[in-house]
């Protein structure tokens, strides 16, 4: 029953290695990060001005907004540098049978 709420969003081999991959699931735009600490998933939209974070610079730990260079921790969603002040919406995620799954 617990597994019913985990949703497949992308196959692991389709992820950009050490980068952020854009994924759309059920109309939700997601950013899937291949971080130094493993895979994490957030909403793709920056909380400041709405830019798509998947087009930003990712260094393995932090994702930088492509429009204003605000910074988020890609594992926790914490807002790390101006102009962003609000954390990213993160999705609980796991790797299961070769796929990235999120809990919805």
């Amino acid at each position: 029953m617990q597994d019913d709420i985990w949703q497949d969003i992308i196959r692991i081999e389709e992820l950009f290695k050490a980068d952020v991959t854009p994924v759309e699931y059920d109309g939700i735009k997601l950013a899937v990060y291949d971080t130094d600490r493993g895979v994490s998933v957030s909403a793709a939209q920056c909380t400041h001005a709405g830019a798509n974070l998947c087009d930003g610079y990712f260094d393995g730990q932090f994702i930088e907004c492509p429009l204003h260079q605000g910074l988020f921790n890609a594992s926790t969603g914490e807002a790390k540098a101006a102009p962003v002040v609000r954390a990213l919406k993160m999705y609980e995620s796991r790797l299961f049978e070769g796929k990235v799954q999120i809990k919805l």
Partner: protein, 332 residues
Amino acid sequence: MAADVLTPITQALEEGTLTRKELKNLMQRSDKPALIRLAIWCVLLAITSSLVWLSLGSWWLLPAMFIQGVVLVHHFSLQHECCHYTAFKTRWLNDLAGNVCGLIIMLPNRFFRYEHCDHHTYTQIKEQDTEMIELPANLAGYLFYISSIPYWKAKFSELWRHSLGRISEDDKQFVPRQEYRTIVFEARLMAAFYICLFILCIAFQFWYPLWFWFLPVVLGEPVMRAIRMTEHVGRPMISDMKSNTRSNNVSFPFQFLAWNMNFHAEHHYASSVPFHALPELNKKLSNHIYTEPRGYLGAHIDIVSQLTGRKPRVDRNVPGAYSVRRSQSDTE
């Protein structure tokens, strides 16, 4: 939640102008190019400072201070790059260099960052773009802007206002509430530094800061105003990045001083691409942006032509010019 926006770079990716792999390669950061350029920069400053030193007490002082000033005001270009965190890979180096540059040209770094972010969101949209330089009404207005009088008036007012702890309604459009104290603190710090230096100069009759720094910056600022005008003034007042920004093909010395920011349309397309990769980005985007082949001079010919009626003004009959509306979430 902020409204979903289509940024220029997302648009470029969707249109196939750039591939994601190309973009990610161009975005790669490094400290080395900026450190090398900064070392040359310091040598250049040593040379221009020597010119001022050698000309002290003669009429050559004026041209020497002007040359020194042209270099000094270009600290704006480095500060601008730092505010995007694209000068250095090491993030704190950008903060350090940005603040030093800001002190040199009296532009508080944190406030500039917020203001400049807003400029990237609402580029060339009248009454929304906080850095917008409007097309002057006539030649007199054009020359008045280049004189830098309105610029310095605005900057002194800004520093004074923030030093007094006041955040204006316009500032509140782009500075988050949580950052008001930081903006006030940095303004007070900067003002206190200038006041202390001024007092020391008087107390010890030590006037070198005047000859080597303050007067050169005042003399050089019109050059920077003229360069800043070439970026957007006279371009269509619409949100389409393909036409609202002007890149300029300029000579190597000016490109060096500008930290490649003459590739301005490329920068607006992908502001996460560091200065050292902008010439490469220029090759990818050359057919998708507006470039003035005659450089800064050509841009001013274009602007003056609009002021003198030789070309239609871009601020006349612009359908859809004000289609972008400020989001409340910008400063929440």
